[in-house]
Every structure is written in structure tokens, then in C-alpha cells.
Amino acid sequence: MSAQAQAAEADKPRLQRLWESGPAGWNAALAKPYVMIPFFAGAATAPFVTQFFVDNFGWTGGEFWVRILATCAMYATLALSLNLVVGYAGLLNLGFIAFFGIGSYAYALVASEQLHQHFPFWLALVTVVFVGIAFSLIIGVPSLRLRGDYLAIVTLGFGLIMQELTLDLDRPPTLMGHQFGPNGLNITGGTEGIHQVDAFRIPKDLPLLGTAPHSWVYYWIFLGFLALCVFLLMRWRHTRTGRAWIAIREDELAARTMGVNTFKYRLLAFTTSAVIAAIVGMINAAWLFNAYPGNYDVQQTVLVFIMVILGGLGSIPGAIIAATLVTILPFLLQPLILYRYVVFSLILIVIMIFRPEGLLGTVSMRPRKTLGGTLELLTAETAIEASELPAVTDTEVADLEAASGAIVEDPEWKA
């Protein structure tokens, strides 16, 4: 933009500029710390607000709504995790919810009577992370070399296999008429799942957590973990890994040409997403005292997909908002419960056709009019980042061009 246009731009009130910058701008604004921190702080006070209404107005929905908020926080974290693997690394992980289940079961196995183990919290956490990494490597290492479409079907198959295994491993497997394993071998509890899972042991003398009701504590744990993930992901975006992910997502061939080890970064995204989902599963199992096989089917994965697309690929605030909407709406609109999947799948289709960026997305999935072309590859998001970099002056441009013979980005080219 010319100097005149830039000056005119600066004259507009801040809010108007924000509004005009479109979803990418909103996303960047919402993802700033001065928005995120108050948001999480405010969200943490929600149980007190509900308690206030319960105490003073005789409202009976307090516990119910804390539970729903906890479920929202849980799905928001799952949406973030799927966003990481689909939005940043461009991998279609259709067996995603299997990792949630793996985390639940891993925790349930080490914190219940199933295997007579009762690990303390930190040891259980380490176990769950380890198991999550292990499974994601088992699936990821062979399949990430495949094309994206094949990865979709392999992960889908993996999800189904895990489901079948959890249902069947409550007895020693009988293959070809021979029993493999001792009598009474019961690993996953089969169709009943694993009951009476220990909750996290929180010392009673902790100021707030020790004495608060069960659902409050878990709401805060989910919320805290969500905040942690948001923080990590936002930091990560500005590191080498984050840029590599964006490069791979936009044009894998170009990224490889630039020397990015796509396999390593895809595996990293895949594994990180799996571990996040596994930890969420662990918290869920502790919250509900159960690991139950019925929760981990493909419809759940599709539901999380809907959240990610609705919120917008690559958008952290978008994922949180969409997860909250998708979780709360069926409870607000009771008749919706029956039609829940009809409505949400329609929303998904409509969004994909008319506005693939979702609410706050920054990944452009629209058809590209040109083939290749470096400028088109810049998403609006990176354009905003680019505009925040210190401008290059004309003399510096000329010096660099003279020195290297390369074409350096002209400051006037910023879109």
C-alpha cells in the first residue's frame, strides 16, 4: 500500500480496523494473551457463579451446567488437538478418538482393580503419555509415508481395530480353537468397560481444589489443561516446528524442496495430537470413574471434526468457540438431541461449500485459481504476521539485492 493509504488506514478507529480485517484479523486478536488470560480466568469462576444462583435463587441446574461446561472444555481440548493434526499438519486422522479411548483405558488400567494397580497421579500421567506416544508411533511411522488419503483409511481402520480389541479383550483370545493366555485374563473389561476407576487423589488441604465438589474440580482440571494446550500451541507456532507445519500444509512439495523433513514434522504433529487426546481421556476416566467402550466410535471423531471445521482450521479461538457451541446446543434445544447429527452434519456440509474457513479459520481451503505462485501461498494469517515484522527500507533492499542477486521482498508489496 502506498504511504497515503497507510496513513488513511491508521486514522480509522481500532475497532473498525479489527472488524474489517476479517476472520484472520479476529483470530489474531482473539489469540492474544490479553484476551486469552481474562477468558480463562473468567471461565474458571463459572462454578462460583452457578453456586451463587443456586444459593440465592433456588436454581437447581448448578451441577448440571458445571458438568456441561466441563464437557465443553474437554471437547475444546480435543478440537484443538485435532486442529493441530488436520489444520497445521494437514493429516486426516479419522481414528482420532481412538487415542482418547487409549488414554482412558490406560489410566483405568493403572488406577483401578482391573490389574490391581493404583498408581499415583504423576506416575499415571507418565504412563498415559508413554502409551499414547507408543500407539501413535505404531500407527504413524508406517502410515505417514503414505499419501493423505491412505492415511485416512489406515487411521479409520486403526480406530475400528482398537474398538474391537477393547470389546474382546476381557477374556483370553481364542484363535483357531486355542486359548492364548491364562484363564481369567481380563484386560479391558470387554463390553462392560472398567468400573470404579480411581479419581485423582487431591490432598484435602489444598486451598480450593481440596474441598470443592467433584465436578468443579474436574471442570478446573479440564480448563487448566485446555489453557496449557492453548499456550503451548501458540508458542509453538512461532518456532521452527510451527513454520514447518504451515509450510507442509500449504504445499508439501514446495516444503520438501526447501529441505523440510516432512515425515519428521508430520509424525511430531500426529504424536502430539495423540498425546493430548490421551491425556484428555485420562481426565475423563477419572472424572466419570469409568472407561467405557461405547464412547469411542467414529461418530465421535466426526463430531470433533465438525467442531474443528466450524471453528476454522488453524484457529485456536475458533476451535474453543465451536466446541462450546456444538456441545451446549443440544442441551439448550432439547428436541435437537434426536436430530443432533442431522443438523451438525448439514452444518458441516454447508460450511465446507460456502465458507470452508469456518468462523475464524485462517487456512484457505478454497479452490486456487492459479497453480503454484508463492504469493498466493501466503495465507492471510502469515500476511498479518508479515505486516508485523519490521519493514525493510529501500536502501537495505538495494544492498541485499546487490550483494546476493536475490529478489528481496519489497515493503510496498505487503498486501
Binding site: V86, G90, L92, L94, P142, S143, L146, R147, G148, D149, Y150, A152, I153, V154, L156, G157, F158, L160, I161, E164, L165, D168, P173, T174, L175, M176, D251, E252, L253, A254, R256, V298, Q299, V302, F305, I306, I309, L338, Y339, R340, Y341, V342, F344, S345, L346, L348, I349, M352, I353, P356, V363, S364, M365, R366, P367, R368
Partner: protein, 308 residues
Amino acid sequence: MDYFLQNFPQQLVNGLETGSLYALIALGYTLVYGILEMLNFAHGDVYMVGGFLGAGVAGLFVHNGVAAVPAGLIVALMALASMGGAGLLGVGIERIAYRPLRDANRLAPLITAIGVSLFLRSIVEVQVSPAPVLVPSNALVPQTVIQVGNVTTPFMALALFVASVVLMLALDVFVFRTRFGTAMRATAQDREAATFMGIDVDRVIVATFLIGSALAGMGGLLFGLTFATVNFFMGFLIGIKAFAAAVIGGIGNVRGAMVGGLFLGVLESMVGGFISTAFQDTFAFLALIVVLLVRPQGLFGQPLPDRA
């Protein structure tokens, strides 16, 4: 070993019959993938809708197990409804949900397809029936059981196999011996070059969806007549298996889809019959994963260029 030898022929026949159904559906997957390089996740649910359309027509003419008009006529009408309805559904889905995203990021049509699949499933569940719906096959098709040696097969299962093979051969002839088939193969090979050659790519794509979906609809009808039941979730699992079959045979390759389907059906039958019925699906998917790792292009496919 005796057990194996005794039961092998029957389980083989079972597997071939199941596999022919997989092959029929796999054809739709492979045709679409060949041309658009897209996984049409909604394909299995188009099969399901085809089955329901056939069941619906049957319900109109058969009351309390008695056919009001000659059975042959009813079956013909059912076939018309299934194939036609499914075909139109497939074309409609392409036009509304996939065409706008044709040149977009690879993920976009995949995600849309997932949405369409869930939509079809849930709308049938909620609006038609969450419980299985009866297809009065006793009144419509012969119930004789054919026996050769100690291998038995109900007439309809054999008919399913024969019908699938005939349809697949017809498709093979169409794709390899007709002008339009050549146009389809050209579009599959290189879409832009095909436009330069004067091929109406849009028409080819619509025809591909029409044919693939009609085949799936026919599969749904045959399934309903063989097992006397249709339900809203029957498309999902068979869709995944058919896709696995297409991949094993070499995605994009019509003959590969046929072989892949039969192979997967027989594999499942062998696993279920001789290893364990509880782990049938697990082994089927493990087979898929192994094939993908060892020979990603499938049995008949060409090594695929590693395009981004």
C-alpha cells in the same frame, strides 16, 4: 486339519459371495477416486439408501408376506428404484457437495464427504427407522437352497454373486471398449489434458458418479433380498471394507477393485471360520494395513507419483 478341509469349500463360497458385494461397492469408490482423486466416504451410505428404496417399493406391493402383483415385476421395480434412486443421489451429492470444492485443498472434499455420510445415516435413522426394516424376500425371490456336495448356498446369495460378476464384466466392457469409457480413462489419467482433447470432463464426472452409485444401489437391493433386512448403519462398515478392497486391488483400477473385493471377502471368511469370529474385522483391517505398507499401490495399481 480335517476341520479345515471339511469346511474350506463352504467358507470359500461364503467368502466369494460376500466379496462380490464388496467388489460391487468398491467399483464405485475406485471409479470416483480414479477421476477425482477423492475418497467418497458417502458411497457406503448411498448403498444403504439404495437398499431402503428397494425395501420401500417392496413394502408397497407386499402385504403380510403376500405379493399383490407378480414377484418378478416387483423385483424389477425395486431394481429401478434402487439403482435409479441411488444413481440420482450420487449425482446430486456430486453436484451440491463436491463440485464446489473440486480444485480446493485435498482435505476439503474428504471432510465434506464425511459430513454427507453422517447426514445420510442420521436422516435415515431419524426419519425412516432406527430399527431394521424387513425386506419380504420370501415373497419375492425363490428360497431354494442349492447344494453341491456338502456346500450349500441359498439361491439369492448365488444370484448376488452372479449379478455382481455380470455387472462388473459389463462395466469392464464399458470402460475398456467404448468411447465413453475411453473418455473416462483419459479423464482419470490427466484431467486437464482430457479437456484439451475436447472431452466434457463435467459430463464424465457426472456419469462416473451415476454409474458408481447405481452399482452401489443395486448392491443394496441385492443385499436386502438376500438377507431380508436393511438398516440405517449397514452402509458404514461395508463402505470401509469396500474401500479397503479397492485399495488392496489398486485404487483407480477397475479390475483391481473386483479382485480386491473378492479377496477381502474370502479373507474375512477364512479368518472368521478358522481363526476367530470375534477378531474378523481386526484381521481384515490388518490385512489392509499390511498391503499398504508392503505394496501401497495395491495388487494391480501402478506405483503412484508422490504428488503433494
